[in-house]
Amino acid sequence: MSDRVFVTGIGVISALGFDIDETASALQKSKSGIGRISLFDTVYKEEIPVAEVKASNIELAERAQVKQDGLFSRTSLLGLIAARQALSQAQVRDFAGTRTGLISATTTGGMDRSERFFKEYLKNNRRGRLRDIVTHDCGNSTEIIAKQTGIRDYVTTISTACSSSANAILLGARLVKNGMLDRVLAGGVDALTLFTLNGFNSLMILDRNGCKPFDEERNGLTLGEGAGFLMIESERLVKKQGKTILGEVKGYGNACDAHHQTASSPEGNGAYLSMEKALITAGLKPAMIDYINAHGTGTKNNDLSEGIAIKRLFQDSVPAFSSTKAYTGHTLGAAGAIEAVFCIMALQHQWLYPNLNFRQTMKELGFSPVASFQHHVPVRYIMSNSFGFGGNNTSIIFSGC
């Protein structure tokens, strides 16, 4: 058993950049990664903005240190890049004598290749290249990361829609706390696909002008892609190896809204419960939270429901909060992990992130998100929210050291 679990490495790739340094620079400059679609053909090319990682699969393969021989989905490549960064920062080089696990999360797995297969297959079921379909399942990208990095003591994948990778971090912390593993590389990844673009478009929740979370005039979300990973280690291992601690996974909560398959309840029940559970496991009072990295997708429904839940839980002491989705787009299964990386960076550097594109306070809330990038703010406890379809809500609390 380990009572405390620490973060010793972080890795991220998104529309903001290929690594932590590029990401930090874009965040500080309040530079959004949202732009036009270039990755695939779609009738919505001129109409719907997205937040792409600005690289072809061939370039990504180089960064992931694999030969791009057509065997990898974009999902695997993005995941591998972020995973390697986290391992490298945590200085994890060999696995002998230490039980190491990998928990990844994704919503559509290798859909970027399967949709190519399916297009041909639909015309004739003998057609479609089989190498484009074997990467379809969610476990594929996880196993590729496991094989490439050498992790093999515990390997699994989570898919709970947009809270997927927050649940990966939650599970990772619990596996270490329960003494099942000494350390876990936990995170998530999703690549932009025609499938998800059309899926969210069919729900009519994609903002044609880029998302404006928590704004009175918000009009939907913007899709993004990327990956984030955190190296989570037991207190014993961190002490034994004298590692640099970046932060601590202090608390976590998972609750189900149980209201509707896609819509959040008007009173934000699931969100309230996941945040409350996280505070309880962390042993903190609401007033002790310095900043909330909100789920804040920019849809009418989410931001209202989440805002009301925050108001109910924090009452007169609503902390500084913002959504970073106007920077990265909504990276779906990767969002929880990418935003967890942002939280660790905020703790390290004492930063607060602005909620880009915000102009007008929501009438129902009466409070507003962080408006501009802030340096040198005392930040000790950060809560990160991730909510998904099916009412899958997860909140995680990180603390500085």
């Binding site: 639909l122 196993e143 596996l175 998972n254 609750a255 149980a258 379809f389 099916g390």
Partner: protein, 355 residues
């Protein structure tokens, strides 16, 4: 980590909606490549208004979950956790098809919404109005195992007193056609109960849903207990599997001598079955062995069917001849080891005991 099993339910190619009937009357399918579930009258368990919009896998999952909870007299589980290798593929295929045929215009969002892997766990929570912990695992042959481990851990942590855990996978015409092109299944049609007699490459496709109500404490509903679970990712050789399995059985059951039955995931593909044969000839010694994929088919979460089978055997104290691998005598059955692997990459093992 261990837990008491208070309720079990399965929808499978067997008559599993009634546990005692299932072991007495195994269904044989002649001249087939795949086994499909015997679907129950859903209206017994699901509100027809709600189930009208559900896809087949969501209906099967929600129905089996409701039956399991009823059996365990559990109204509001402390967690709902599912495992699924491929999730809701029927709706994934439906949405992809409409995307291409309608050239991205005027798409019905329902199949997209229901294509999400956590649809079944969410639908169960919605039906129960259950705000508890909710999670879904999607890792090939570890999907159900991960869900089970999470459930055991929640009980161990005292985060929950009673949890609902399930495994589910559906077979569709497209998923069969594609995996058939990948060479997963035998080319010639077979008689299901004779699966191990064919020496050709490939297995028999299958599908199924199984749910379990787990309790931290023993109750009057308890039918068996799960003692421990472990997984091995990509073992190098059968010898490595043997070593890990041996350590596991020692810890979970007190040694091979304590086992009364071993349930194996043989699937009829000689290459895939090699490791089972190695273990039968070495580690397993004289312990009676059985297998199950000839009655449910091969799929990512077939191990959830094996847990259902093991619990049913412990409850009924009956092992059908058609699932036995040998003629060794079987007395009272107290401890069953289930060992399974999917495509030789995801190996899992658990011990289920009478109590």
């Amino acid at each position: 980590m261990e837990a008491f099993i208070d309720g079990i339910s399965a929808i499978s190619p067997q008559k599993t909606l009634d546990g005692s009937v299932f072991l007495q009357e195994l269904q044989e399918y002649k001249g087939v490549h795949a086994l499909k579930c015997i679907e129950p009258p859903y209206s017994d368990f699901l509100d027809p208004m709600a189930s009208r919009r559900m896809s087949r896998i969501v209906k099967m999952g929600a129905c089996a979950a409701m039956k399991c909870l009823k059996e365990a007299s559990l109204e509001n589980p402390g967690a709902i956790i599912t495992g699924t290798g491929l999730g809701c593929i029927e709706d994934t295929e439906k949405f992809l098809t409409s995307l291409y045929t309608n050239e991205e215009k005027l798409l019905n969002p329902t199949p997209f919404i229901q294509s999400t892997h956590n649809t079944v766990a969410a639908a169960i929570a919605l039906m129960l109005k259950c705000n508890s912990y909710n999670n879904t695992y999607v890792h090939r042959g570890f999907s159900f195992e991960s869900a089970l481990l999470d459930g055991l851990m929640l009980l161990h942590e005292r985060t929950a007193e009673r949890v609902l855990v399930g495994g589910l996978d559906e077979l569709t015409n497209h998923s069969f056609a594609i995996t058939n092109r990948l060479g997963f299944w035998k080319r010639q049609p077979i008689d299901s109960l004779r699966l191990l007699e064919y020496k050709s490459k490939g297995s028999l496709a299958g599908e199924g849903v199984a749910f379990f109500a787990l309790n931290r404490e023993k109750s009057e509903k308890t039918i068996a207990m799960i003692r421990s679970i472990d997984t091995i990712f990509n073992p190098g050789t059968p010898a490595e599997t043997e070593r890990r399995l041996s350590v596991f059985v020692e810890k979970a059951a007190g040694g091979m001598g304590k086992l009364d039955l071993i349930v194996l995931g043989m699937n009829g593909d000689p290459e895939m079955d090699e490791v089972y044969r190695h273990l039968v000839n070495t580690l397993f010694g004289l312990v009676p062995c059985a297998f199950f994929k000839h009655i449910c088919g091969e799929y990512d979460t077939a191990s959830s069917f094996a847990l259902y089978l093991a619990a049913a055997i412990l409850k009924e104290q009956k092992v059908p001849e058609a699932i036995r691998l040998d003629k060794r005598s079987i007395g009272q059955i107290k401890n069953i080891l289930v060992y399974n692997h999917v495509r030789n990459s995801n190996h899992s093992m658990f011990v289920v005991s009478a109590c």
